[in-house]
């Protein structure tokens, strides 16, 4: 390939991606005795280089400076982390187990045998590894206290969130690199565990394709089409049932090439990029579902100006939730950040913006997250991801409910003014799709699990339908919107996969439950 040097390594398992799914699978497999190579596109980010500056850290810790956008009505900002830890490096650390009603739906609609009882030990193992515990009211800070006051006045169901943090002092910048390394992201937990167990960690390596060998022998010289089409349509499968993984080929940042030879490949490049890698490799297209079924948990945020000092960035930014309307697909979670973050998201302009920011210490903020029924698709355009997602009417209605209710929450908490993220003169009840300013943090479902090869990209054991030796372990396999933050679901499924591949029995590990 243009005379570039190619390094070849051999392993039992090659894991692509060091985020919530890949890092967990790599560590559990290495500790189970497998020879593992973990390949990550991003790099290790030294906490000594964290500055708490949103502008600077967005450019360094996020893919495309956190400016990845969907195309559709309305466009949605979709920030994605990049580096050892993936998005766990920059998320708020919120931990929820998969709600039982969601697991029941998965069994009913997708034939997945993933019940609460069967997953419990995997969740407990992850929670123990990441020191998951509930945020205390003191650490939650003034912003959570405002939401709590409102929820209590209204009699709404609420609580403090559980997080993967140890020794947190409430620095207030989870999304911009935790300066105390309190947040237990996978880059400082599972990746070091994998390394200690003998795994080789390769950073700065972009995996071009999973290498396959057909039953007839010899590597396949397949060329994927690069034109526009859903990830499914870019490379139709040929003789899929006879093919099996033999490794991956990658391009290093240095220009050198890397080939990892391994009979088992776990793809965990994230919900946006996993379907593109699978499509480039000619894997998973048989069902027609690859790159489709994308859910996002779209979200928006409301500000309020309170009478007393809030100091929103002093404390855990995401620390308190209101789930009174969870059955209607709406959940509230407090969000907060330093002045630059608040100023960027405050839905005002000109003099009103400046006046509200001058009173930053009295500003409170709460997010509205929707468990979406809308579904998007991921396309490959010139090798880059194009994310198409249009908000369905049902989800617009959920935002109407959510915005109105958060307004009530702040008023009940004693807000002097409430700033809704809507154009002037538009009330929550009259909100149209184009009025909404949305962000999303939880892309899921683009290589969904379904027991039936005609309906899903992987089966209930996360094995790619129609190809031997290829597994997927990231948010892309989650077949429906969860309604809660997904990192624990992804990690528990990755743990389950690793135990199954290594032939380990979770009940024999002797883990103990960590009290919340």
């Amino acid at each position: 390939m243009s005379g570039a040097r190619t390094e070849r390594v051999e392993a039992d398992v090659c894991v692509v991606g060091a985020g919530a799914g890949g890092a967990v699978a790599a560590a559990e497999l290495a500790e189970g005795g497998s020879n593992v190579v973990l390949v990550e596109e991003g790099h290790w980010h030294d906490p000594d280089s964290f500055t708490a500056s949103p502008t600077e850290m967005l450019a360094r810790l996020y893919r495309e400076a956190g400016q990845t956008m969907t195309v559709g009505a309305p466009p949605i900002l979709l920030p994605l982390g990049r580096g050892l830890g993936g998005t766990t490096l920059v998320n708020s650390g919120t931990c929820f187990r998969t709600p039982p009603r969601v697991l029941e739906r998965w069994e009913r609609e997708f034939g997945l045998e993933l019940d609460e009882q069967g997953l419990r030990a995997f969740f407990e193992r992850v929670e123990q590894a990441l020191s998951v515990s509930e945020v205390t009211p003191q650490l939650a800070g003034g912003n959570a206290a405002v939401a709590r006051r409102g929820a209590e006045a209204l009699g709404w169901s609420h609580g403090y969130l559980s997080r993967n943090a140890r020794g947190c002092v409430g620095s207030g910048v989870c999304a911009f690199g935790c300066p105390t390394s309190a947040k237990q992201h996978t880059g400082i937990t599972y990746v070091p565990r994998a390394e200690r167990a003998g795994a080789r960690i390769v950073t700065g390596a972009w995996v071009e394709r999973v290498l396959l060998r057909s039953g007839a022998g010899g590597s396949k010289g397949r060329t994927a089409r690069t034109g526009r089409g859903t990830a499914s349509s870019t490379s139709p499968p040929r003789r899929a049932a006879l093919e099996r993984a033999i490794g991956v080929s990658a391009r290093m940042a240095s220009g050198a090439r890397l080939e990892v030879r391994a009979p088992t490949v776990i793809v965990a490049a994230g919900t946006i990029h996993t379907p593109l890698l699978l499509a480039r490799s000619g894997i998973g297209a048989g069902s027609g579902q690859l790159g489709r079924n994308l859910s996002l948990h779209p979200a928006t945020a409301v500000f309020a100006r309170m009478a007393d000092t809030v100091d929103m960035a002093k404390g855990v930014p995401q620390s308190f939730y209101v789930d009174e309307f969870a059955r209607e697909g709406v959940i509230f979670e407090t969000v907060a950040g330093p002045p630059a973050y608040a100023a960027m998201s405050l839905p005002l302009t000109g003099a009103r913006h400046a006046e509200a920011m001058a009173d930053y210490r009295r500003l409170a903020q709460c997010g509205v997250m929707v468990s979406d029924s809308s579904r998007g698709s991921i396309y490959s355009v010139g090798g880059r991801a194009l994310i198409r997602y249009d908000l369905a009417d049902a989800d617009v209605e959920r935002f109407r409910i959510g915005l109105a209710r958060v307004g009530e929450l702040f008023e009940a908490a004693g807000a002097r003014e409430v700033y809704l993220p809507l154009p002037e003169g538009v009330s929550p009840g009259k909100t149209r799709r184009r009025d909404l300013k949305l962000m999303a943090f939880h892309p899921l479902g683009s290589a969904r699990a379904d027991a039936r090869p005609s309906k899903g990209v992987v089966d209930g054991d996360l094995r790619a339908h129609g190809t031997r030796g290829v597994y997927v372990a990231d948010g892309s396999v989650v077949p429906s919107s969860l309604g809660v933050n997904p990192q624990m679901t992804i990690m528990a499924l990755a743990t389950r996969l690793a135990f199954a591949l290594a032939g380990r029995d979770i009940s024999a590990t002797g883990h103990v439950r960590v009290a919340a």
Binding site: P54, A59, Q67, A343, M344, R361
Partner: protein, 91 residues
């Protein structure tokens, strides 16, 4: 180098790291906002005005002097984090 120009460099790195359509859009909006006539044009396009406000806000309020006046001392947060990591042997 003044804090203002350091901040301008940081904002420029942020814009340069964004994907091409947003990069171009942010540069156009930032340029419009710097000129009286541009600001007047933006006032007639509320959605674009909001975006221009976002970009300008990010640069302005990330200035340590501005943030400190609002009660946020990012340098102190970072220093406390470093000290804790050293003292407790955190990664």
């Amino acid at each position: 180098m003044s804090r203002g120009s350091e901040n301008g460099d940081t904002l420029e790195r942020f814009i340069a790291s964004a994907p091409q359509p947003q990069r171009m859009g942010m540069r156009v909006l930032a340029a419009l906002r710097r000129r009286p006539r541009g600001r007047s044009m933006l006032e007639h396009a509320p959605a674009l005005n909001q975006l221009a406000q976002m970009i300008a806000s990010l640069g302005h309020y990330d200035d340590p002097g501005v943030a400190e006046a609002l009660g946020w001392d990012g340098a102190a947060v970072v220093a406390r984090g470093k000290a804790l990591r050293r003292a407790e042997g955190r990664p």
